[in-house]
Amino acid sequence: MRYAFYLGCATPVKALKYEISTRNLAKILGIELVDIPEFSCCGFPVKSMDSFAALLMAARNLAIAEEKGMDIIGVCTGCMAILSEAKEYLEDEKLRDKVNEKLKAIGAKEYTGRVKVKHFARFLYEDYRLDRIRDKIVTPLASLEFGIHYGCHYMKPTHAHGHFDDPSNPFTIDGLINITGAKTINYPNKNLCCGLTIMGTAEDISFRLAAEKLEYLSSRGVDAMVVACPSCCIAYENNQKLVGKRVGKEFNLPVLYFTQVIGLAMGLSEKDLGFEFNRIKADKITEKFK
């Protein structure tokens, strides 16, 4: 099981705990994640400036993986959505030729459309499969309860993601977490967007969006919010204080990556899961499994 590991921009700088936990989790699951230094930005930020440039950037990354003969596994839902979307657009041959000609011009490989793109969570759910994860559980996380935040781009746009999961009622990450024995709650604004993408252009809306979910989950008293995307994590964890201030509340809701939770159940150490980087300490949780 060898895959091109697509880190993206945020993870390797702003979500070290995500990267660390992912790498270690992959290790014990026997999944080889190969680092590809040639990878560049997926194109998401550029999409608002020049859609074709964005497409080129995505295509380039796809081409690189294809040339290395590996499918892509990523951890950032945004990157995965953009790459998948690009894949879909590039099924149009006319467009693909146009793109390849440009790729040639910048000395990149041509993309023929063979490479697959999957978010790590999706990969675990679809390809690695739950039962095999279950086998590796050593410390069931019964007694824990989480609220999952999927992140819009995890399964949307559905056509780009091959209609994986159900946008109005997502369940796959719940599945992954439940495997560990932990409970997950189904809550009204489960599908609410974290709002990070507009933090720079419409900060107020962005914060209010974040606040809504934080408020609700706090009120439900879950042990933590579980996320699958560095951006969402930034919105809910890094910004938690700011958001609180904006709506005049004090939040103290730990935000964990699904990889950390699963890792925990598989007996990985806090260090291996980068708990040290949790800005809102999840000690309550870790205590239980000391």
């Binding site: 880190l7 921009c9 945020a10 390797p12 700088v13 070290l16 990267e19 660390i20 680092d35 230094p37 040639e38 990878f39 560049s40 930005c41 998401f44 930020p45 550029v46 999409k47 608002s48 400036m49 020049d50 859609s51 074709f52 440039a53 497409l55 080129l56 950037m57 380039r60 657009y89 149009d92 006319k94 467009l95 146009k98 440009k102 011009a105 910048i106 819009c152 781009h153 949307k156 746009p157 559905t158 946008p167 109005s168 599908n191 609410l192 967007c193 974290c194 709002g195 990070l196 993408t197 507009i198 720079g200 252009t201 419409a202 809306i205 962005s206 209010r208 969006l209 980068g274 980087f277």
Partner: protein, 143 residues
């Protein structure tokens, strides 16, 4: 531009049921943001008035509207394209300018910090800094 490959035809089919706005969380918080109105304005060719419209930059691209549009209009995509048009018309939010600048310099949105990674025991990553710049060069040449 690949919106030439994007099915604009669909846009004409919008019959203003408003489902996009109904389901939009931004609209819930800031009622001035109304996807169905954006679509309408674009489809009647009154897009220019949109350019200054801050609404363009309020969408989080959560795709809820696209998913639920009965006419299968890729609302989010259209909004994205509207943005690029605005940008070309020179209505660029501060943030974008800085972002573009960083991208051109480093090839990534958030510059690499290998020192930090080192501390965390993660291997350093050599960044492909020039890619984005090269791509933009090409695309600019296009026009």
């Amino acid at each position: 531009m690949y919106n030439e490959f994007f099915d604009r035809e669909k846009l004409k089919y919008c019959y203003q049921c408003g489902k996009c706005s109904s389901g939009c969380d931004i609209n819930r918080i800031d009622v001035s943001f109304q996807p169905h109105r954006l679509l309408h304005l674009i489809s009647i060719g009154a897009a220019d008035n949109l350019m200054e419209d801050a609404g363009l930059w309020k969408c989080t691209t959560c795709f809820t509207c696209s998913e639920r549009c009965p006419q299968g209009i890729k609302v989010t995509e259209i909004l994205w394209i509207a943005r690029t048009i605005a940008v070309k018309a020179g209505h660029i939010p501060e943030l974008l300018i800085t972002q573009k600048d960083i991208l051109l310099r480093t090839g990534r949105l958030i510059p690499m910090d290998n020192k930090k990674r080192g501390k965390a025991g993660l291997t350093a990553i050599q960044e492909e800094s020039s890619v984005v710049a090269r791509i933009f060069e090409i695309v600019e040449k296009e026009k």
